[in-house]
C-alpha cells in the first residue's frame, strides 16, 4: 500500500472497463415453469376456471361471489380456524373452509345454502358474543349481512383477570346468566405496541407472522386449551422478557385491533383517533438498503402509524422494528440533537 499517494489516478484497467458492458440480448428473468392446466369447477351454479393450486376462495372470487373471511390473510398459511368462510361442497359431509380447500376439477360449490348461512351466522354470533369486535374492520357489515345477533346468548360477562392462568381441562361451571367472554385487562408492556386480547378472535395470524410465515421469532404461540386458549408468551411474561423483536408484523396482520401500535392505541384511548383527519402516503423506509415500502398514516401533521402494503413484493407487509416504529425522529417537536 502506498500511503503517500494512495488515491491519485485509477487502476491500470483500460478503457474497456470504463465502457458500460453491452445490453443483455433479452430481458433476463426466471426460467419458464411448466404450466399446469386450469381447474374447472362450479360456484353457485356458475362455471369458473382457476389456476391449478387455487383455493375454493379463489374460485369464489373469480365467480364474483363475496365470501367473508376473518382468519385468512393472503400472506399467511391458511389455518381455517374461524370458519366464517365455510361453503357447501357437493359430496362433503360437513361444510368446508373456502380459504384453505384446494379447488378440484368438477367440484360443485354452493355458498348461499341454508346450511352455509346458518353456520356463518352462528359463527359470527359466537365471535361477537365473546370478543370485542367494535373496531374490527368490516365486521359490522358482515354481521348485518348474515343477520347475526350475538345478544341471543345473553349479556356479556365482565373482564376476567385470570385468563393467563387457566389450566387445561378445568373451568368453573357457568350458570348461564351471562355469556362468557375473553374480556380482560389490556397488556401494555412496551413503547411499541399494545395487546388488547379482549379483541382477540384467536385467528392465529399473529402467531404465524411471528413464526414461520414471516418473522421466525416465535415470541408468541397459542397456549391453553378450548375457550381458555390464548395468544401468549412463555409463562405469559411481558414482551420485554420474551423473544419479541417488535417488528410489529403481528400488529400488521391482526384483523380486529387486538394488536395495535402504541401511538394509535393511546390516541384511540384519548378519543383523538380520527380517520377523517388522516392521510396515508407510501414511501420507502429510511434505514437499511432493502428498500421496504412504508405507508405512513399521518394525522394533524404527525405520523400515527407506519405499515407496509401487503402487495409490496419486498415486504409482503412485513417490516422490522426500525421501519415500523422508528419514525420518532421526524415527529414535530424538538429534534434530537437540536441546539437548545
Amino acid at each position: 500500500m502506498n500511503r503517500s499517494d494512495p488515491w491519485s489516478g485509477g487502476p491500470a484497467e483500460g478503457a474497456v472497463w470504463f465502457d458500460p458492458p453491452p445490453r443483455a440480448a433479452k430481458v433476463p428473468g426466471p426460467p419458464p415453469s411448466p404450466a399446469r392446466p386450469p381447474v374447472a369447477l362450479s360456484v353457485d351454479g356458475r362455471e369458473v376456471r382457476v389456476p391449478a393450486g387455487a383455493t375454493v376462495l379463489d374460485a369464489c372470487r373469480v365467480a364474483g361471489v363475496e365470501t367473508p373471511t376473518l382468519c385468512f390473510h393472503e400472506t399467511l398459511t391458511p389455518v381455517n380456524a374461524c370458519r366464517v368462510c365455510v361453503v357447501e361442497v357437493a359430496g362433503a359431509r360437513t361444510l368446508v373452509p373456502a380459504c384453505s380447500r384446494q379447488a378440484e376439477a368438477g367440484m360443485q360449490v354452493k355458498t348461499d345454502t341454508p346450511r352455509v348461512r346458518c353456520s356463518r351466522k352462528v359463527v359470527l354470533e359466537l365471535l361477537a358474543s365473546s370478543v370485542d369486535l367494535r373496531i374490527a374492520p368490516g365486521m359490522a357489515e358482515t354481521m348485518a349481512r348474515y343477520g347475526a345477533s350475538p345478544g341471543r346468548f345473553g349479556p356479556p360477562a365482565p373482564d376476567a383477570a385470570d385468563r393467563d392462568a387457566r389450566e387445561a381441562g378445568h373451568h368453573h361451571a357457568p350458570d348461564g346468566a351471562a355469556a362468557e367472554t375473553v374480556a380482560q385487562p389490556v397488556k401494555a408492556d412496551n413503547d411499541c405496541y399494545v395487546r388488547d386480547y379482549s379483541k382477540c378472535v384467536l385467528c392465529y395470524r399473529c402467531v404465524e407472522a411471528c413464526g414461520t410465515d414471516a418473522q421466525n421469532t416465535f415470541a408468541i404461540a397459542v397456549a391453553g386449551r378450548g375457550f381458555d386458549a390464548r395468544i401468549s408468551t412463555e409463562w405469559a411474561r411481558p414482551l420485554t422478557d420474551s423473544a419479541c423483536v417488535y417488528c410489529g408484523n403481528c400488529v400488521a396482520v391482526c384483523p380486529t385491533g387486538a394488536l395495535m401500535g402504541k401511538t394509535e392505541h393511546d390516541l384511540r384511548a384519548a378519543g383523538a383517533w380520527d380517520p377523517e383527519r388522516q392521510t396515508c402516503t407510501d414511501t420507502i423506509c429510511p434505514y437499511c438498503g432493502v428498500g421496504c415500502s412504508l405507508s405512513l398514516t399521518v394525522q394533524d401533521g404527525r405520523i400515527v402509524r407506519a405499515a407496509s402494503p401487503v402487495g409490496a413484493d419486498i415486504t409482503r407487509g412485513n417490516l422490522c422494528i426500525k421501519g415500523r416504529f422508528g419514525w420518532g425522529h421526524v415527529q414535530p417537536g424538538p429534534r434530537a440533537g437540536d441546539a437548545p
Binding site: A81, P97, C118, E167, A179, A219, R225, W235, R237
Partner: protein, 608 residues
C-alpha cells in the same frame, strides 16, 4: 433459529430428568412431550427452569413449548403436591356416585401428601367410581384404583407418595407376577367373557401371561404375521379388503383401502396405533393392550408390512400407565425375538416401534391431532384433506388404525379375509368389542359378532340392577347419541345404527337406569366438550361454551326467551357446530344433547 431463553435456570434434578429422557430419543422436536413428561414425572410439575432446559436442548422456542405444555391436563405448570389423585367424575362414574366419591376422597386425603383433582373418564369404567393416583419422584408411580372406598384411596396415595420418593425399583414388575388364577379373576372384572372359548379379539385375554412371548406364541401368536410375510404386501391388503374390516375408531373406514393408499404413496411411510382411547365409557383398547399386547404388535407389523411403513408409533393415552408399560415391554421383547427390528422374522422387512404417551387430552384421539402431538406440537386437528394417507405424521404418508382394528388383523390374515367376512352381517363384518358400563350388573368389555342387538348386549352384561328400569343408553360415549328403552332391538351394526340415526362410535355403551339425573349427565357432557375442545376453531371453541351455558339455563329453569327459544338456539348452535367445526369433536359435541332432546324428551317440560 435464534432462540431467546429467559427466566430461571433448571434445578439439577430437572436437568437430569430431561437429559435422561432425551438420552434415548434424540433431540428432535418430537421429543418435546416426552421431555415434558420427564419433568412432570420427576418433580410433579413443569417449572420455568425445567421448560427452559427442554427448550435449550430441543431448540424449541419457549413460547411454543409453553403452548404445548399448557395444552395437556396431565401436565401441571405450577407447583403442587407431587402426588395427585385424579378422581373420575365422568358419565359412568357419575352413575356410581362420583360426586360423593370426589368429596369423600378429598376429605380422606386432606392433611395427607396428596392432592385431589377431578378427571374426565379414566377408562376404568368397570371399577367405577375410579381414580388414578399419579405420584412424581425418582420412581414415579401410577396406580389405577377404585374410588368407592375413600380411605383406601388415601392410603394408596400415601403409599404411592413415599414409593415415588424411593430410588428406582422394579416395583412395576409386581403385576406381572400374579398367579394365573388371580390374573383371570382380575381380568374377568374388565372382560367378563375372559376365558370363554370362541372369542376372536379377546381370545387370549385372561388366558395368557401378557408379558410372555412364549405364552403368546403357544396360543397361536405370530401365525398371522408368518402368513402375511408369505402372502406379500399386496396379498395382505387383498385379504384385509376381502374381510370387510373397517376402522373401529369411529369413522369406519375400510382398513385395507387405507393401507393400499399408503402403500401407493412415496416412502418413507409411518404407521400409528391409535391407543389414545379417551371417549368416555370406552375401555376396550385398554384391556387389549394390557392383556394381549403382542397381538397388537403383530397387527401393527402386518399392517406396516402391507403398507410399506418402516416406523410405527403406539400412542397410548397418558391415563393408561399399565397399558403403556405392557406395550413397551412387549415391543422390547418382540424386538429381541426378531418380531420387530431391521429384519422381521428373517424376511428382510424392517419395522421399528416406539411407544408414546399422551399428555391428557381427549382431542389427541383424533388422528391428525395425535400426529401433531407426536410431532411435539399442540394437539390441534388438521383440516382434511390432505388425509393422513397422503400427508400424515411428519408430513409423510401414514397408516393410523385404532387398537381394536389392528387386534383383528392377525386373525384375519391367518384365517383369511373371507372367514372374517362370513362373521357378522352383510354391512358389518366380523366381531366387535363393546365397552358396557353404567347401571348394569356386570360392566366390562364384551365381544359379540356383528348383528347382536342392544338388548342382547345388555343381557350379556346382566341388565340393569334389579328393581330399576332402563332410562337411557348412551351409544358411542360423550360424542354419541342417547337411545331410549324403546330402542333395545336396535342391531348394533354400522348399517343398523345408521338407519336409526345414531352411530356405534367407539363402541361405548353406557347404561342409565331411572335413578340417573339426565340433566346432570348432559351437563357433564357439555362440561367435557368445553374442557376438551382444543380451541382452534370458533364453532367448537365458543360453541361448547354457549352450549354449556344454555344447558345450565335450561336446567335451572331460566331459559333465555322461553324454553322453546332456548331449545331452538341449542339446535341451531348444534347445527353450526356439526357443519362448521374442523374435526369430529366439534362436529359431535352437540350430539348427546340433541339426541336427548329428540329421543328422550329432555327439557320437554317438567324435569329433564
Amino acid at each position: 433459529m435464534d432462540l431467546r431463553l429467559t427466566g430461571p435456570p433448571p434445578s439439577e434434578v430437572e436437568r437430569a430428568a430431561v437429559d435422561g429422557a432425551l438420552a434415548t430419543g434424540g433431540t428432535g422436536r418430537d421429543q418435546l412431550l416426552p421431555a415434558l413428561h420427564a419433568l412432570q414425572d420427576r418433580v410433579g410439575f413443569v417449572s420455568e427452569g425445567g421448560l427452559r432446559h427442554v427448550c435449550e436442548r430441543l431448540r424449541v422456542p419457549p413460547a411454543e413449548a409453553y403452548g404445548v405444555a399448557s395444552f395437556y391436563h396431565l401436565l401441571a405448570l405450577a407447583p403442587r403436591p407431587r402426588t395427585v389423585v385424579h378422581v373420575c367424575d365422568d358419565l359412568v362414574c357419575r352413575a356410581h356416585g362420583a360426586e360423593a366419591a370426589v368429596a369423600a376422597v378429598e376429605r380422606a386425603c386432606a392433611g395427607g401428601p396428596a392432592t385431589v383433582a377431578r378427571s374426565p373418564c379414566l377408562g376404568l369404567c368397570e371399577r367405577a367410581p375410579a381414580a388414578l393416583i399419579l405420584a412424581a419422584g425418582a420412581s414415579p408411580c401410577a396406580e389405577p384404583v377404585g374410588a368407592a372406598d375413600a380411605r383406601a384411596v388415601a392410603d394408596a396415595a400415601a403409599r404411592a407418595d413415599s414409593a415415588a420418593e424411593a430410588a428406582p425399583s422394579r416395583r412395576a414388575r409386581r403385576l406381572a407376577k400374579e398367579k394365573p388364577g388371580a390374573r383371570l379373576e382380575r381380568v374377568r372384572r374388565a372382560a367378563p367373557q375372559a376365558g370363554t372359548p370362541g372369542l376372536r379379539l379377546l381370545a387370549r385375554v385372561g388366558r395368557v401371561d401378557p408379558e410372555s412371548v412364549a405364552d403368546w406364541k403357544a396360543s397361536g401368536g405370530g401365525e398371522g404375521l408368518r402368513k402375511a410375510l408369505a402372502l406379500g404386501p399386496a396379498g395382505v391388503v387383498r385379504e384385509v379388503i376381502a374381510s370387510g374390516l373397517v376402522g373401529r375408531g369411529g369413522a369406519a373406514f375400510p382398513a385395507g383401502k387405507k393401507w393400499e393408499a399408503v402403500a401407493a404413496a412415496p416412502a418413507p411411510r409411518h404407521l400409528i396405533l391409535n391407543a389414545d382411547e379417551s371417549e368416555p365409557g370406552t375401555f376396550k383398547d385398554r384391556v387389549l393392550m394390557e392383556e394381549d399386547p403382542f397381538a397388537l404388535l403383530e397387527g401393527m407389523t402386518i399392517a406396516a408390512y402391507a403398507a410399506g411403513c418402516g416406523r410405527g408409533y403406539v400412542y397410548v393415552r397418558g391415563e393408561y400407565p399399565l397399558a403403556r408399560l405392557r406395550m413397551e415391554r412387549a415391543a422390547a421383547a418382540a424386538r429381541k425375538e426378531g418380531l420387530l427390528g431391521p429384519d422381521v422374522l428373517g424376511s428382510g422387512f424392517s419395522f421399528e416401534v416406539e411407544v408414546r404417551r399422551g399428555g391428557g387430552a381427549y382431542i389427541c384421539g383424533e388422528e391428525t391431532a395425535l400426529m401433531n402431538s407426536i410431532e411435539g406440537k399442540r394437539g390441534e386437528p388438521r383440516q382434511k384433506p390432505p388425509f393422513p394417507t397422503q400427508a400424515g405424521l411428519f408430513g409423510r404418508p401414514t397408516v393410523i388404525n385404532n387398537v381394536e382394528t389392528l387386534a383383528a388383523v392377525p386373525w384375519i390374515v391367518r384365517d383369511g379375509g373371507a372367514a372374517w367376512a362370513r362373521i357378522g352381517t352383510k354391512g358389518s363384518s366380523g366381531a366387535k368389542l363393546f365397552s358396557v358400563a353404567g347401571h348394569v350388573a356386570r360392566p366390562g368389555v364384551y365381544e359379540v359378532e356383528f348383528g347382536a342387538t342392544l338388548r342382547q348386549l345388555l343381557a350379556l352384561a346382566g341388565g340393569v340392577p334389579a328393581g330399576r328400569s332402563l332410562r337411557a343408553v348412551l351409544l358411542g360415549g360423550a360424542a354419541g347419541s342417547f337411545v331410549g328403552p324403546g330402542d333395545l332391538d336396535l342391531p348394533l351394526t354400522f348399517e343398523g345404527t345408521r338407519a336409526a340415526g345414531v352411530g356405534l362410535g367407539s363402541g361405548a355403551v353406557i347404561v342409565f337406569d331411572d335413578s340417573a339425573d339426565l340433566g346432570d349427565l348432559l351437563a357433564r357432557v357439555a362440561r367435557f366438550f368445553r374442557d376438551e375442545s382444543c380451541g382452534q376453531c370458533v364453532p367448537c371453541r365458543v360453541g361448547t361454551v354457549r352450549q354449556e351455558e344454555a344447558l345450565a339455563r335450561l336446567r335451572a329453569g331460566r331459559p333465555l326467551g322461553g324454553r322453546e327459544a332456548e331449545v331452538a338456539l341449542v339446535r341451531e348452535l348444534g347445527q353450526a357446530m356439526h357443519d362448521a367445526s374442523i374435526c369430529g369433536l366439534g362436529q359431535t359435541a352437540s350430539s348427546a344433547l340433541e339426541s336427548a332432546l329428540s329421543r328422550l324428551g329432555a327439557f320437554s317440560g317438567g324435569t329433564p
